[in-house]
């Protein structure tokens, strides 16, 4: 839990014809982080495999066909879980067969639906245009019977009418403004057949937008409107019928289509993964990182799938030259319990730990919940947060992790609410199991400081572990190492002794002073001494020459001084836990003061409860956000900064879900 999953480097060598079953096994195990062959010795020698473009193309075509069907059917089926990983070289036959069967039933319905929709849109547009001409009630039969005159209808900006009149003044013409519509006249213009071109030029330059009515209209405008409205009703009925058919088909084939899509995506991913493989003659080489515990299982399955014709090998990362040289980094696979897993987001927001570094998610999660609860302790408000978190967890899949965090924060808030005896700010409903913060400000502050000392100490401990794991034993003597930790603990011990039992005795102060002085001397001198030793050994000569011992000592003095000041600042920083806890209680007091004023005037009626409810809501939103930010700030600046170096790379399994692949445009719901 406090360290990431132990990984080993796995290398698989198999004949070309067996690559598909091997990839299927890798897909089933999922937990393999492929190493690009170019990053290895073999890859640099040019033994790189290539993606099978032909097969990949087949899956792209299949995915396009599936997408068309899903877009049309819009099924509401849940996303299927693929338990058996398909073989990319064979699966396209199966998917193709399924699709052909579905398309035979579905495409005619979708095609007809699309046609009906297009017709509906076109007819609706014509109807809208005809309605513009309704006040004039033109008769299209009479207009089309004209032999010596031409006519046109359109929308003319109203300010252009005078100029249009003038521009046509040399020819016989009629301009009939039918009605006004959004700053334009609906205009019917007529002129003699001989003046058709003049009329056309004038209307065009007058910015007339023609109505573009179909040529087959006959009879009065009103009759056409009635006819079209009837057609539209028929079309809508037909569409409703087609929609029912579509829904039935979606129910029948939705699951199969979603499963086919998932499998096609998996196969595409497996095929794409080939670009990370190596190839020598007619055999493939796959290399990647995998949890040590899974290796036996992998070897057994590959042996089964290839009848023992594949070589599977495991190497300890420490023995790999590229890892030692730092050119190849081991990825990080987190290993936290289900309830703490969402907090990995907060860890990675700060940085990804290096392989071998302490993985702090567990500490972060526990301390986050304690700090949040202390600052936001209230049974009622905690229950609201937990309910909101549950709603997010159930309904918003993408934000499920945040839903879990919110639920846990809510529970923590409820626990501290019980300790403080607070329910939506009412402090007389439950007896406090611990104390009322506003009545015990001194104690609350002391507890906050003690909590801070605990968290900072944990940071020191993590740093010491990191230094030991990385073999940086010399740094243990530094102000951020073991010497610094001892110095801090001794100072903190004296402080706690003073807070709990009064001033320490002379003997205690003298002995503590001697130890502190010794530790200070160690912290101050460790760097110059190490540098001197290096110089004497003849190593790092350049640095030794450019930086003298005096300068080195001065630098060390500033570093140690800075670090000791940071101990103090970081510890004092935890007073904010008490401050925000008190602010929370003070905000309640403000809300209740307002409500009491209203009660004085109108009694304990609707207004009183409304103020309590709105006040609580404001506190939840405002204080909840502020407390979250402050907690995260304490975690990052006071805790993580003590030991967290970061710079690692996350583990990327060979297969990701279709969500990650970015292909779920429509269809399918998560459960």
């Amino acid at each position: 839990m406090f360290r990431t999953v132990r990984l080993s480097r796995v290398t698989i060598q198999c004949p070309e014809e067996l690559i598909s079953p091997v990839m299927t096994v890798l897909g089933e195990l999922r937990l393999l982080h492929l190493i690009r062959i170019e990053e290895t010795h073999l890859g640099r020698m040019g033994f790189v495999a290539h993606v099978d473009r032909e097969q990949l193309g087949r899956y792209q075509d299949l995915l396009a066909r599936i997408r068309r069907l899903l877009d049309g059917l819009r099924p509401a089926a849940p996303l299927p879980q693929i338990t058996t990983i398909p073989r990319p070289d064979r699966e396209h036959f199966r998917i193709g067969e399924i699709l052909a069967r579905i398309e035979k039933r579905v495409l005619p319905v979708l095609g007809e639906e699309e046609q009906a929709r297009q017709r509906l849109a076109a007819d609706t547009e014509v109807l809208e245009r005809l309605r513009l001409l309704e006040p004039a009630d033109l008769d299209f039969d009479r207009l089309s019977a004209l032999h010596y005159a031409v006519w046109t209808a359109g929308l003319l900006p109203e300010e252009n009418l005078d100029r249009l009149e003038e521009s046509l003044s040399d020819v016989y013409h009629v301009l009939v403004p039918v009605q006004k519509k959004e700053g334009r006249f609906v205009l019917v213009a007529m002129a003699l057949e001989d003046d058709r071109e003049v009329l056309g030029r004038a209307l065009k330059s007058g910015f007339l937008e023609p109505l573009d009515l179909p040529s087959d209209l006959a009879g009065p405008v009103s009759a056409n409107i009635g006819r079209l409205a009837g057609q539209l009703r028929d079309l809508e009925d037909r569409l409703a019928l087609l929609d029912q058919q579509r829904q039935a088909l979606a129910e029948e084939y939705g699951e199969a289509l979603l499963e086919a899509r998932e499998k096609a995506i998996l196969c595409s991913q497996l095929l794409r993964a080939q670009e990370k493989f190596g190839a020598i003659d007619h055999s493939f080489i796959i290399t990647g990182w995998m949890p040590v515990d899974l290796f036996a299982d992998l070897k057994e399955k590959i042996d089964q799938a290839t009848a023992g014709r594949a070589l599977v090998d495991q190497v300890d990362p420490e023995t790999i030259r590229e890892v030692r040289a730092g050119t190849l980094r081991i990825p990080i696979l987190f290993n936290n319990p289900l309830l703490l897993r969402p907090f990995e987001k907060f860890t990675t927001l700060y940085g990804t730990p290096m392989y071998g570094e302490v993985e702090p998610t567990m500490f972060l999660a526990v301390s986050f919940l304690v700090l949040f609860g202390m600052m936001f302790g209230d049974v009622g408000q905690g229950a609201v947060l937990a309910a909101a978190g549950y709603a997010i967890f159930r309904r918003l899949f993408r934000f499920m992790d945040y839903g879990v965090i919110l639920m846990e924060c809510g529970v923590s808030s409820m626990v501290f609410g019980l300790l403080y005896g607070s329910v939506f700010g009412f402090e007389d409903l439950l007896p406090p199991l611990w104390m009322h913060p506003m009545k015990n400000i001194d104690s609350f502050m002391k507890v906050s400081i003690l909590l801070g000392i605990g968290i900072i100490s944990l940071g020191f401990a993590c740093n010491v572990v990191n230094l030991l794991r990385q073999g940086k034993y010399g740094d243990l003597l530094s102000a951020s190492g073991l010497a610094g930790a001892l110095f801090y603990w001794l100072m903190a011990g004296l402080g706690v002794r003073y807070m709990l039992a009064g001033a320490p005795g002379h003997g205690e102060i003298l002995s503590a002073g001697i130890v502190l002085a010794l530790l200070l001397a160690v912290m101050l001198l460790q760097k110059p001494v190490r540098r001197l030793l290096l110089r004497l050994r003849g190593r790092n000569r350049t640095q030794g020459l450019t930086k003298g011992l005096g300068l080195s000592l001065f630098e060390s003095l500033i570093e140690v001084g800075d670090e000791i000041l940071r101990y103090l600042a970081n510890t004092v920083s935890f007073v904010r836990v008490a401050a925000f806890g008190l602010t929370h209680a003070a905000l309640f007091m403000a809300v209740f003061s307002l409500a009491d004023m209203v009660r004085g005037a109108h009694g304990r009626g609707f207004s009183y409860w409304l103020i309590i409810a709105v006040g609580n809501l404001v506190i939840i939103l405002l204080e909840g956000m502020v407390v979250s930010i402050q907690t995260l700030r304490l975690e990052y600046y006071e805790f993580f900064s003590r030991f967290f170096r970061g710079g690692g790379r996350p583990f990327r399994p060979i297969l990701t879900s279709s969500e990650d692949a970015g292909t779920t445009s429509t269809g399918g719901t998560h459960q």
């Binding site: 900006p157 003038e166 040399d170 030029r201 910015f207 023609p210």
Partner: protein, 351 residues
């Protein structure tokens, strides 16, 4: 009159101060006589355009010259205490916004990136409230119209879209922008409260529109070969002495003599000596310049003074740019002078 004086005295004083820096006939003489473009720019540096850096490319120098004009617009609009008068000045300024929008539309039609079109835009400064950054990034006329929502240009452009979509060419949109800008100007003049103020503004700006319309008729008829009915529809609103009917008659004139005969009597008398179409431009510009100078020399408390000064300044800058481009092409001073309004070259430096 006291009210008019209170409204316009400060702006008027500012106009007089700004006008004292205009180029004299002597300045134009030396600009025309400069040996080359470098010599011209060196002389220009000794005038009120001394801030223009001669080491910049020609296009940048021209932009700098217009910066002066837009600074003057800003100063004058800021010194007008009368809201309706200020609106007239802003409406006059909106012509340049329309010009910039035309440049953007041409850029869109040519498929140019905004990095290409941006340097071509007039540097309008803080007086323009349009979101130029957003407008520059528009990739289609439809996007541009959406970005102009709420301005005087959005609706006319939207109404011209049908013509643009039918023909796939930008000119209908450009014409719509011009019409919108001048309709906005005519509306601002009509909204002036005082009768004398309105009358004076109509005299200056209506006269300006009349002259522009004459030039447009000639350009559309002679150079573009448009029909009279099209020319009437593309004519600018807000003219004073030339009605729509007059413009229609002018558009049908097929010779210079007939064109002159159909002009209002006063204009016809002044232009009677012209024999060819190219002679109209400098002659009409001279006529406009005389109108502006008369306005600036007469009763001072109306918005016509501010508008007149800004039009005069614009003409001065355009004349300088014409000289620059002509000199860059190596044209002789006499040839260049023929293309400029004679009244400008005879300008005295006195206020």
């Amino acid at each position: 009159m006291l009210l008019a004086a209170a409204r316009y005295s400060f702006a008027n004083a500012r106009v007089r101060a700004l006008r004292s820096k205009r180029l004299s006939g002597e300045d134009f003489y030396f600009l025309l006589q400069a040996d080359d473009l470098a010599g011209l720019l060196a002389y220009l540096a000794t005038t009120s355009y001394g801030h223009v850096r001669p080491d910049l490319p020609l296009r940048s120098v021209q932009r700098h010259l217009f910066t002066t004009l837009f600074t003057h617009y800003h100063k004058i609009a800021g010194s007008l205490r009368h809201a309706a008068g200020r609106r007239v000045i802003l409406a006059l300024f909106a012509r340049f916004e329309a010009e910039n929008l035309k440049i953007l539309l041409r850029g869109i039609a040519a498929g140019h990136d905004h990095a290409v079109t941006d340097p071509l835009l007039y540097p309008l400064g803080p007086l323009s409230t349009l979101a130029w950054e957003r407008l520059s990034e528009c990739a289609t006329p439809e996007e541009l119209i959406r970005a102009l929502e709420g301005s005087a240009f959005a609706r006319p452009l939207a109404h011209a879209m049908a013509q643009y979509q039918a023909g796939g060419a930008i000119p209908p949109l450009e014409a719509a922008l011009d019409l919108a800008a001048f309709r906005h100007l005519a509306g601002a003049v009509a909204a002036l409260a005082g009768r004398s103020d309105r009358k004076a503004a109509r005299r200056v700006l209506g006269g300006y529109v009349d002259i522009l319309n004459c030039l447009w008729v000639i350009r559309l008829r002679v150079h573009f070969g448009l029909s009279p009915e099209e020319i009437v529809n593309y004519s600018l609103p807000g003219g004073r002495d030339i009605s729509l009917r007059d413009l229609h008659r002018l558009a049908k004139a097929d010779t210079v003599a007939r064109f002159i005969a159909r002009l209002p009597t006063g204009m016809a008398a002044r232009l009677g000596s012209l024999r060819d179409w190219p002679e109209f431009r400098p002659a009409l510009q001279s006529m406009l310049l005389r109108l502006l100078r008369r306005t600036l020399a007469s009763f001072p408390f109306h918005v016509g003074v501010e508008a007149g000064y800004l039009l005069e300044k614009e003409m001065e800058i355009r004349a300088v740019i014409t000289i620059m481009e002509a000199r860059a092409q190596g044209l002789a001073p006499e040839t260049v002078a023929e293309r400029l309004p004679a009244a400008l070259l005879r300008e005295s430096p006195h206020v």
